[in-house]
């Protein structure tokens, strides 16, 4: 756009907003933050208008300034359809979350809004960075404000949750840093131009890295991204973080931050290390299937509303990783669509959990009941997003899921059959939750709240309205997303197809697969013995219920 660094403007608008919020009196903090996030949103929509999905150039609006020229590190931003749609998702959910924080957040509102805006900078940055080092910087920037948001404005057990979240993510991202450096080293040692371009994504993707490097670097990237997605078995930070985070934190966490991982896989892990990616694909597909089914089954027995939605996220994000690693157009298209839809729908579900929490200061499903009678608008909204999350056709969740399934079917019908089974489980945990909250007589606990139990406020409706509208629009016209990302999908699939998979000696593979299974078995036996004889370690305070008296899933 005539030399204007529009992308940088989008990235740093929230930062300017954050500075303004920081210096202005606290009573303006809310409105200023909202204004800044709306500004960023409007600018991102301009990007959407200016973007040419049919252009031969994959990346557009490129801003490039040398940063550490000696090592070829530069400040390089650019978007393709994939990053663009996620940027718009980020800016949309950001203003919605800020608006949703208006009434729940009472303390330190200024600090909260500053954190939130910086979080937005980091997230947009991750989606537009085309320099691996810059990507890493943005990736880590995201961590700090989220740490604060959960740690300061979170629930009672927030410190445990936030430290777990940060440490877990940090371990992954440090390994990724090592891998970024390693690929840069490898690049410069073979490149005639030396360090030039050693961190530039567009140059790196053309390089053919040595298979051994690919294996290790891929694993490092994969671990960082898998923790973020989160994939089984790296998912356990998610329920804790969600339960402790304030509503808006949960919304952003689910709607955008989980997408950082999936985006990283598509943008960096696959094109840079295509041979290794193909080698590990079967394992990752199995892990995705486990996440899909396991997440859904565990969601069935959650007594806490937020944990239920958190585990449903594990299941839904399993579809994303499944779609990515079957390496075909339908799978990849579906994965991207599912990322967007999960952002909209799960974001909305967390908002809805927030609405009920605002009024009751409780999230225990067993205490709810009969909400439909006193909060009809809320019941309709909850029902709408429950069915959207359950993949009701006509709403956006369905198209993404179905495309992933088609992609999986092309890869292997068995894989698709297992994943399709989640349709039943999803209907199970969602409808069970919906029924216990909305139907029946008003519960005694809710009766005790009396007139505090009011229906949704206009602000709350305003935060959910756009999400509902987009859910319908993308359900009927998924082409809006699919046309935008077509070039991105074609190019990443071409990148993957460029190389043959690395062959791993079967005995190594066998050991690598057998060890974790044996460990898990041993641990099950060991822990079960301890639990059964009552010598088990003390339960953590935030994990209610023992399997013995866990709630029955369906009644």
């Amino acid at each position: 756009m005539n030399g204007l660094p529009i992308l940088s403007i989008v990235v740093f608008t929230p930062l300017i907003g954050a500075l303004l919020v920081a210096v202005a009196p606290s009573r303006y903090a809310r409105l200023l933050a909202l204004a800044a996030s709306l500004m960023a949103w409007a600018l991102s929509l301009l990007l959407l208008i200016g973007f040419d999905p049919n252009s031969a150039r994959q990346f557009q609006f490129i801003d490039r300034v040398p940063w550490i020229p000696d090592f070829g590190i530069s400040y390089k931003l650019g978007v393709d359809g994939l990053s663009l749609i996620l940027v718009v998702l980020t800016t949309t959910l950001s203003w919605i979350s800020i608006l949703a924080s208006f009434s729940p957040i009472k303390d330190r509102i200024k600090e909260y809004m500053v954190s939130f805006l910086i979080l937005e900078v980091g997230m947009i940055g991750v989606f537009v960075a085309l320099d691996t080092f810059l990507f890493y910087i943005f990736w880590e920037i995201v961590l700090v404000p989220m740490y604060l948001i959960i740690g300061i404005w979170g629930g009672t057990n927030r410190i445990y949750a936030t430290i777990k979240f940060v440490l877990y993510t940090l371990i992954g991202s440090l390994l990724m840093l090592v891998a970024i450096l390693a690929t840069a080293f490898a690049f410069q040692s073979t490149s005639p131009t030396g360090w030039q371009g050693a961190f530039d994504f567009e140059q790196l993707r053309a390089a053919n890295f040595d298979p051994t490097l690919q294996i290790f670097a891929f694993l490092a990237f994969f671990l960082a991204f898998a923790i973020k997605v989160p994939m089984f078995p790296f998912h356990t930070w998610l329920p804790d973080a969600h339960v402790q985070a304030p509503t808006a934190g949960s919304v952003i966490l689910a709607a955008v931050m989980l997408k950082l991982g999936a985006y990283g896989l598509i943008r960096f892990a696959l094109p840079l290390f295509p041979a290794a990616a193909q080698t590990f694909a079967p394992v990752i597909i199995v892990l995705s299937l486990i996440a899909i089914i396991y997440g859904a089954i565990v969601a069935l027995v959650q007594p806490d509303l937020k944990k239920l939605v958190a585990y449903s996220s594990v299941s839904h994000m399993g579809f994303v990783t499944l779609g990515i690693f079957v390496f075909n157009t339908q799978g990849m298209d579906g994965a991207i669509l599912q990322m967007v839809n999960h952002g909209l729908i799960t974001g909305a579900l967390f908002l809805l959990v927030g609405v009920i929490y605002e009024r009751t200061h409780d999230r225990t499903i067993a205490k709810m009941g009969g909400v439909a009678g006193v909060m009809p608008v809320y019941a309709v909204a909850l029902g709408f997003f429950v069915f959207a999350s359950g993949g009701l056709p006509g709403l956006s969740g369905f198209v993404g899921e179905f495309l992933v399934l088609i992609g999986a079917f092309e890869y292997s019908p068995i894989v698709a059959a297992i994943a399709t089974f989640a349709m039943i489980l999803a209907a199970g945990y969602l409808l069970w939750m919906f029924q216990r909250i909305a139907f029946g007589e008003l519960s005694d606990f809710l009766k005790g709240l009396g007139h505090h139990l009011t229906d949704m406020t206009p602000t709350e409706i305003l935060t959910l309205g756009p999400l509902a509208a987009l859910t319908v629009v993308f359900g009927l016209f998924p082409g809006l997303v699919l046309d935008l990302v077509r070039n991105s999908v074609t190019s990443v699939l071409a990148d993957v197809a460029r190389q043959e998979p690395v062959v791993i000696p079967p005995q190594t593979a066998l050991i690598a697969i057998a060890l974790p299974i044996l460990y898990a078995l041993a641990r099950v036996i060991w822990v079960a013995r301890a639990d059964l004889t009552g010598r088990g370690g003390a339960e953590r305070p935030d994990s209610p219920g023992e399997p013995g008296h866990a709630v029955e899933p369906v009644s």
Binding site: K164, V178, A182, F185, A186, S189, D210, T212, L213, F232, I297, V298, L300, V301, T329, D333, G334, G373, F384, L392, P393, G394, L403, L405, I406, F409, E410, P413, A417, T420, F421, M423, I424, A427, G428, L431, Q435, F439, G440, E441, V472, G475, L476, F477, P478, G479, L482, R486, A520, R523, V524, D531, G536, G537, R540, E546, A550, E552, P553, V554
Partner: protein, 696 residues
């Protein structure tokens, strides 16, 4: 508010709609989408402003269905008459490209167009769905008049009509699947309509989840079809799937495709073992039971199998499975219906049983007979359900037949219409049920599925018996109505009884009309040629029948066919008379008093069968054991696993790190040189490892 804005786009896009036929669709390109768009508009309007309309909330939804009925009948009339552009094979229009994954012109791209298709099969379904839909809407004005959720009920009804009409009009498997799930949604909303009732909420959820089990099969079937032939357009896909010699190159064999589609059909049409949701669905208001769980939604499975008949014909083994499951469901459900005491549950099991007949017909290859029975059953079962609603209304929301009796005189219109419906379903000529049921049984016998015929005959006895047991317990004999309610028992208003009498007309005549000029009565009257319905559906089922290689056997009224008719009429009479004898009749000529003692003696003779029937063969208990107890245990175990194994491993690693950190704390000497040394060593190790990696 779900994805139903689709037909709105339809109207906007109708002018540019490309058509399959050589001749442009002209007004049809507007009229066909309007059939769906009208109820959709009614739904949106009522959902948004219905709350404020109070007792006039029904005007727009009922009006919308009325208009849709007019247009639908016009479309059906023209389609069945073979007017251009429908011709013999129907007319299709494309609205817009819904999903395009991959470049649309490229091989392997996944492209789904939303479009409508009307042929004679669709037209038959349109008649049933729209007519019964309209009557149920009208009936509901009376039935729901005292309900605070009046407007909500009509909004849901309209939403259901949208889904059901989309289901029969869609021309792509995936759009059918969309409608399939939307029908499930509207059914969920309507069964759970009385949201404060826990049992209603549970039944709604059960219906949705059990349906989802079938849907998984259907979804996989759709994927298999796409992988096999690369398109989901129904006609195109069927053509490619059944092309000469094509089957060899398919990654997924045809029998799997057929079985998966049948799984979907089993869910929606409640066939064993997915039958468990339908009886519970009676928790919904009675008009819902009539519309959805008797006349329309449950027929979706039959429609789907009929629509894809060439696929099933290419997998003859699956056809046998279809026939077996169908006839098994028929006898299973009939056996349960014989002892139930809830009037609506008897009808629900009867519906299961009749649907079983339809699947048996599909399985033996008598596709037309299945659709014939679908149509007649839609009308007489709709009548019976609406009648039961009128009874329930009369005795103040009581559904237990043990607390009824002797109602015949008090609610004469209800009694007479229900009696007509019962005679029809029992299969007594010349009412509608006789023709369709007899055709199923006769075809089964002549196509050498004698076992299907034999079981079917037994089911016919049971059907006649449980229907007249229902009539006897409800209308005949002494009144067992609660004395407090007894004086207030009253006939329903005419807005409810008129639909009953209107439904009674096709219940009496439809079989005759659709079978003439063909057998069984045609030859007798000196007429020739196939029956009307056969004539209509011949183009639809021709491809399947060609693949099956069925030859039209000559009709011998004074031979095998006459004997079969005689047999089925005889057994129906036996069933009827037995029920009369046991549960009483007070016709002027005969006055058999009901004899509870005799019933008790009879049941005591077969205690196992009686208990099995009463407890619905324990399927609900089995499901409870499997999914609630065992499944619940599994879920609880996995959650335990999640916390104690997966999560605690993470915590242990963290704890170990902290422990190591404490140990390392001792080297925190505070001397900058030591730190510098450490950093230097670290960097050298890192750089060294990079170099080693990079050099390889």
């Amino acid at each position: 508010m779900s994805g139903l804005d689709l037909p709105l786009a339809t109207i906007l896009g109708a002018t540019e709609a490309g058509s399959e036929g050589a001749i442009g669709g002209g007004p049809w390109d507007l009229l066909i989408p309007l059939i769906i768009a009208l109820p959709l508009a009614g739904f949106l309007f009522t959902a948004l402003v219905g709350r404020r309309l109070g007792k006039s909330a029904h005007l727009v939804p009922v009006g919308a269905i009325g208009l849709a009925w007019l247009i639908g009948m016009w479309v059906a009339f023209n389609a069945l008459g073979g007017t251009e552009p429908f011709g013999e094979h129907g007319y299709g229009q494309t609205i817009y490209t819904w999903i395009a994954s991959g470049a649309p012109d490229q091989a392997g791209a996944f492209v789904v167009d939303v479009g409508f298709f009307v042929d004679n099969l669709t037209a038959c379904l349109l008649i049933v769905v729209l007519t019964i839909g309209l009557l149920v809407h009208v009936y509901s004005i009376g039935y729901m008049s005292h309900d605070p959720g009046y407007w909500r009920f009509f909004a849901y009804l309209n939403l259901f009509m949208v889904s059901m009409l989309l289901l029969v009009l869609a021309d792509s498997f995936l759009v059918v699947f969309v409608a399939w799930e939307l029908v499930g949604l509207s059914s969920y909303l309507l069964i759970g309509f009385w949201k404060h009732k826990r049992s209603a909420a549970l039944a709604a959820k059960k219906a949705f989840i059990v349906n989802r089990v079938g849907d998984v099969g259907f979804a996989l079937g759709i994927m298999a079809i796409f992988v096999n032939v690369g398109t989901l357009n129904i006609r195109h896909a069927i053509e490619l799937l059944t092309a000469e010699g094509a089957a060899a190159s398919f990654p997924i064999p045809m029998w799997i495709v057929a079985l998966l589609i049948f799984a979907g059909a089993m869910g929606k049409s409640a066939q064993f073992p997915l039958h468990v949701w339908l009886p519970d669905a009676m928790e919904g208001p009675t008009p819902v039971s009539a519309l959805i769980h008797a006349a329309t939604m449950v027929n979706a499975g039959v429609y789907l199998v009929a629509r894809t008949n060439p696929i099933f014909a290419s997998a003859p083994d699956v056809m046998v499975v279809v026939a077996a499951i169908g006839i098994f469901t028929a006898i299973l459900a009939a056996s349960i219906a014989m002892t139930q005491t809830d009037i609506k549950r008897v009808l629900a099991y009867s519906t299961l049983s009749q649907l079983g007949y339809m699947f048996a017909a599909l399985g033996v290859g008598a596709f037309t007979a299945a659709i014939f029975h679908l149509m007649t059953h839609g009308f007489f079962k709709g009548l019976l359900f609406l009648g039961s609603g009128s009874v329930i209304h009369a005795v103040h929301e009581e559904q237990d037949m043990r607390k009824m009796g002797g109602l015949a005189k008090k609610i004469p219109h209800t009694y007479r219409t229900m009696l007509i419906g019962s005679i029809a379903i029992a299969g007594i000529p010349p009412l509608a049920g006789f023709f369709s049921k007899d055709e199923i049984l006769g075809e089964a016998f002549k196509l050498h599925f004698e076992w299907v015929w034999a079981i079917g005959i037994v089911v016919a006895v049971m059907t006649a018996f449980y229907m007249f047991r229902l009539i006897g317990m409800t209308f005949w004999g002494e009144s067992r109505v609660d004395p407090a309610i007894e004086p207030h028992v009253h006939e329903s208003p005419s807005v409810m009884t008129t639909p009953l009498w209107i439904l009674a007309v096709p219940t009496v005549l439809l079989g005759l009309v659709l079978s003439l000029p063909g057998p069984p009565l045609g030859p007798l009257l000196g007429l020739e040629g196939p029956g009307l319905l056969h004539h209509w559906l011949e183009p639809v089922f021709h491809p399947g029948l060609v693949i099956l290689g069925h030859k039209e056997a000559e009709y011998q009224l004074f031979g095998i066919d006459g004997a079969l008719i005689g047999a089925s009429v005889a057994v129906a009479t036996i069933g009827m008379v037995t029920a009369w004898r046991l549960f009483g009749v007070n016709l002027r000529a005969i006055n058999w008093r009901p004899d509870p003692e005799r019933v008790r003696r009879l049941t005591a003779r077969v205690p196992f069968l009686y208990r099995a029937s009463l407890n619905k063969w324990w399927f609900d208990d089995l499901n409870h054991l499997l999914f609630m107890t065992i499944g619940g245990r599994l879920a609880a175990f996995l959650w335990w696993f999640d916390r104690r194994v997966v999560d605690d491993t993470v915590n242990d690693v963290a704890a170990t790190t902290v422990g190591a950190g404490r140990g390392l704390g001792r080297i925190q000497t505070g001397r900058v040189q030591n730190y510098a040394l450490g950093i230097a060593v670290g960097l050298i190790v890192m750089a060294g490892s990079f170099l080693v990696l990079a050099a390889r």
